[in-house]
Symmetry: C2
Subunit: 568 residues, 2 copies
């Protein structure tokens, strides 16, 4: 082809496009520009640098074998030209030129292109609140922010407020607390953490996990202003729930796509302000490609347009752009939006839609919440994990999956296994029959993905009638109902003692012989260890003529992760 | 429906059918029979009982909350009748009756059925060799075998031969060696361990893993006879590679489907001797269902019929049978055959076809062998993992995936994520673009599944020209060729010293400036840390006019797991 390709942006997608293009089409002339000097870094690693898991910031710019990805590296190893400290000012699409300025000396230059790639990424939102311009207020954007925050920590920061309960907010809260012992408060405007990614029951578990690890969590709480002054620093954050004294504030309230350059050049944008692209990742100008954080993504499940700022996605889209530039036709159909986050020693992952997102997208969702061990229950170190599966009751199409548990890879494994089925609009039976690798050290004979599929089918078929654990607590406290607890006397003891005659303990194997002790005049919630036995008992009681019987999904094991006081 | 359903077999599928059926159709009368007394056990757990990870054999028969799955349990908790110690002798399909005998008192009885389910499982093969009937020779079939083997161990067994290098053979070898310190030899007739599940490069790594953990491994070796006598016990195993002294022999050479009852009743069998079933899991008699180890499975990739004795599969098929029996129409389309095995502290998983199986099935396969860290390389405890992806060069359809590494769940995660694409006959681009959950503690920004997909595409497109590490060793030893090593001087040093002028070290960033040092008259193999840099250098040299340049897939990191002497 031997064209000149100019790439604007050098963090993830930009270097990927340039490197791949030079491999598939070595004759192409490739020039990459970025405003900053330190390009090609693992931005997702910033919380781990702040928290001390990564000791040197340069590690985030190095290859696995310790080469720093600087201009010389890109020249000698990837064979393209990287110009750093160059801010692109404008695109002239008619003459096919860009104009850029050197950030140090201010000189401006013009550079022609045959094809242009916009890899401009996104910028963290800093809300324009009173005090948000004070020193001590940060966002988490690039290596400079990372170093500034770590600098504050190493000079004795004692208290901080993290605003925003998304992945980065929770990761930063962990980083501040775990290594540095900073008194940390997480403030989230919505009524749960991870409002865009997690269902309420998963969010409750994450919030408890944060609190158990000394992070104060305020959901449904708005930040109104930040108190402090230039000289003596920050004093507090004023919120809708009161004043939280602190010495630093870190805003993690999301990002905005850097689409200004594209907009000014007259390229089409999407509903979320990202650059609009087709499946070949071309913008409305076919000679200009774009991908990663700065573009709108097509959600394969809801059909909606969304933003999805993930380094992994940027890399995949970078390859598709490079392939198209080099004549290897390639497409990127859309996203299921797999996502995961580590919160202290537990992991949460999801793909597709939550129940609420499915409802908003026009589906008739049901959601199954199940608990299973992450390997054969007799195998050493088997741990309980949690899964949520969302499906459409009308079409039985699988719409979303979430998982939570102490083994990060096990959590990831389950969501990644179901995600392709979400993308392919598969029927729930495909989840019930989903093959996953089985051997006792890896999984139980009936894996949680299959249990989740089966349970969702049982819900749609009306065989399983259940409530979620947090809903059950509300119902138990506010309505006239009874609980049947088929656990052992020892296990059920604390609840029987606490709740008296409303909490009826009949050990599982005695149920058939003690049916007359079970009241049928009020709603009856069956509460066992994990919800599995509850369902069996619910079905048995249905067969014996009991009609108002409910399975408490997750039961005791879920309650321990949501509201342990309720059951102790 | 209120029919009588008789289930023959009580290990995995049988109890699943009966339990599920009673939940979905509580009015059904369900009677389960099994020849043995101790039913419903986790047979896959036997190696872990022998090896001590599971301390009591009854653990394999208990639910997660410590209830033993005996007749009383099935009566009171699952609400069906289990009759143990009853051997089914024959099926009279005309009168819809079975005849069975009590194994203790020999009395016979007849039992009518409306629907019959054959859950007869499989039996381990004990080859009819001289001496294979001696005491001290075992198979691994049921809890009695498990106890007998553990009995031998606890009375001081010092040496053993395990015959068969499949999953159970490797697991038993580990069990004998790891806890008990038994001098253990693994003998496999084929030229590699896991001949049915692993490609040669994966098998080489597994064999090294076994040897590193004190298991002697003899592949391509046939057992001819077992020496010993009734009184003094075993003395040795005579093989095609010589005599191996030992006190015990455990045969793990595969299983045969227990299809005799079906055959004698005139039901159709498949090419492997398993019972033939349709997608509803009905046999050739629509009133008789069958599933699990005793039936033929439809391989969705090759289109062939196969046996797949896995407890997980039995459970999934049990549910499908129960659904069909209760009027919830359900189907089981076939298998991709996900599989995994732990070998000491490493895990191997696969799904679909190996390169060789794909060739035999009529595809034109290519296979990509790649190495990547299992999480961000800068994240603590990041480890290298290995992946093999097989695809058809003509259609670009993905056919198989294998993974190997030290984190069992991480290995499982990758294969389970790709498996649905194998089942859906997806194009390789779907592997390149496959979304998997990303965050530095879970995966690198470019996950190994995507790298494997990209590499397979590069191979098909002729961009990547590579040899596998074990092939490279052969070629280097037997042909006139050179190696270009772009690692650092320190890394390359031992090889340069060992192989002299044939091993040319030019550190990566110096390659563009030292092209004249690279000979172009012979095949040139580029050997780096993991194969990634080799590919980059191969492409760069191609662009500079070098034609006979080969990437050594896996390079140094693979060699460490196959033949470390070659590189040290």
């Amino acid at each position: 082809m031997a064209e000149r390709v100019v790439v604007v942006g050098g963090v993830a997608l930009g270097p990927k496009v340039a490197s791949r293009l030079k491999r598939s089409d070595p004759d192409a002339e490739v020039i990459l520009l970025d405003r900053v000097r330190r390009i090609s870094y693992g931005g997702c690693g910033i919380p781990y640098f702040v928290g001390g898991d990564v000791s040197e910031i340069e590690e985030l710019r190095k290859t696995m074998y310790h080469m720093v990805r600087d201009e010389a590296f890109f020249r000698d190893v990837k064979h393209f030209e990287a110009r750093t400290g160059k801010e692109v000012l404008s695109i002239d699409r008619k003459s096919k030129e860009i104009r850029y300025r050197d950030v140090d000396d201010g000189t401006e230059e013009t550079l022609g292109y045959d094809k242009l790639v916009l890899a401009t990424g996104s910028s963290p939102v800093l809300p324009p609140l009173p005090g948000s311009d004070l020193p001590g207020v940060s966002v988490v954007s690039n290596l400079d922010d990372a170093e500034r925050i770590k600098g504050m920590l190493s000079t004795g920061l004692e208290s901080a407020v993290v605003v925003g309960g998304g992945a980065i907010g929770m990761e930063m809260a962990e980083a501040l607390t775990d290594l540095w012992g900073v008194e940390t408060t997480l403030v989230e405007m919505m009524d749960q953490v991870l409002p865009a990614a997690a269902s309420p029951v998963m969010a409750r578990m994450l919030e408890k996990q944060l609190r158990d690890n000394d992070v104060a969590v305020y959901t449904g709480t708005q930040v109104k202003q930040i108190e402090g002054d230039e000289d003596s620093g920050l004093r507090a954050v004023e919120t809708s729930q009161g004043r939280i004294p602190c010495q630093a504030v870190i805003f993690c309230v999301g990002v905005r796509p850097n689409s200004g350059l594209a907009r000014e050049a007259g390229l089409s944008l999407g509903p979320n302000g990202g650059i609009a692209v087709n499946t070949r990742l071309q913008t409305s100008d076919p000679d200009i490609y774009a991908g990663g954080d700065c573009v709108e993504q097509h959600n394969l499940v809801s059909g909606d347009s969304m933003l999805l700022p993930l380094g992994s996605l940027a890399n995949r889209q970078g390859r598709v752009i490079a392939n198209n530039l080099s004549g290897l036709r390639d497409t990127f159909p859309g996203v299921v939006s797999n996502f995961c986050v580590k919160v202290f020693d537990k992991g949460m992952a999801r793909a597709g839609l939550t129940f609420e997102q499915a409802r908003q997208a026009g589906f008739s969702p049901v959601s199954a919440f199940v608990i299973q061990p992450d390997r054969a229950h007799f195998y050493p170190d088997s741990k309980l994990m949690f899964m949520k599966l969302v499906a459409d009751a009308r079409t039985r199409r699988v719409l979303g999956a979430e998982a939570y548990g102490p083994k990060l890879d096990a959590v990831k494994a389950r969501v990644d296994a179901v995600a392709p089925l979400i993308g392919s609009k598969a029927d729930l039976s495909e989840v019930s029959n989903l093959e996953v690798c089985y051997s006792p050290p890896f999984s139980p004979a009936v894996d949680i993905v299959n249990v989740a599929g089966n349970t969702a089918q049982n819900l749609i078929d009306g065989i399983n009638v259940s409530v979620e654990p947090q809903e059950f607590v509300e119902l138990f406290r506010s309505t006239d109902c009874n609980v049947l607890d088929p656990r052992s006397e020892a296990m059920a003891g604390p609840c029987v003692e606490k709740y008296g005659s409303r909490w009826i303990n009949i050990p599982l194997s005695q149920v058939p012989y003690r049916l007359e002790e079970i009241p049928s005049d009020k709603p009856l919630y069956v509460f066992c260890n994990t919800g599995t036995t509850s369902f069996e008992v619910q079905r048995y009681l249905n067969a014996k003529g009991f009609t108002d019987v409910w399975t408490v999904a997750g039961s005791y094991a879920a309650m321990l992760n949501i509201d342990p006081d309720f059951v102790s």
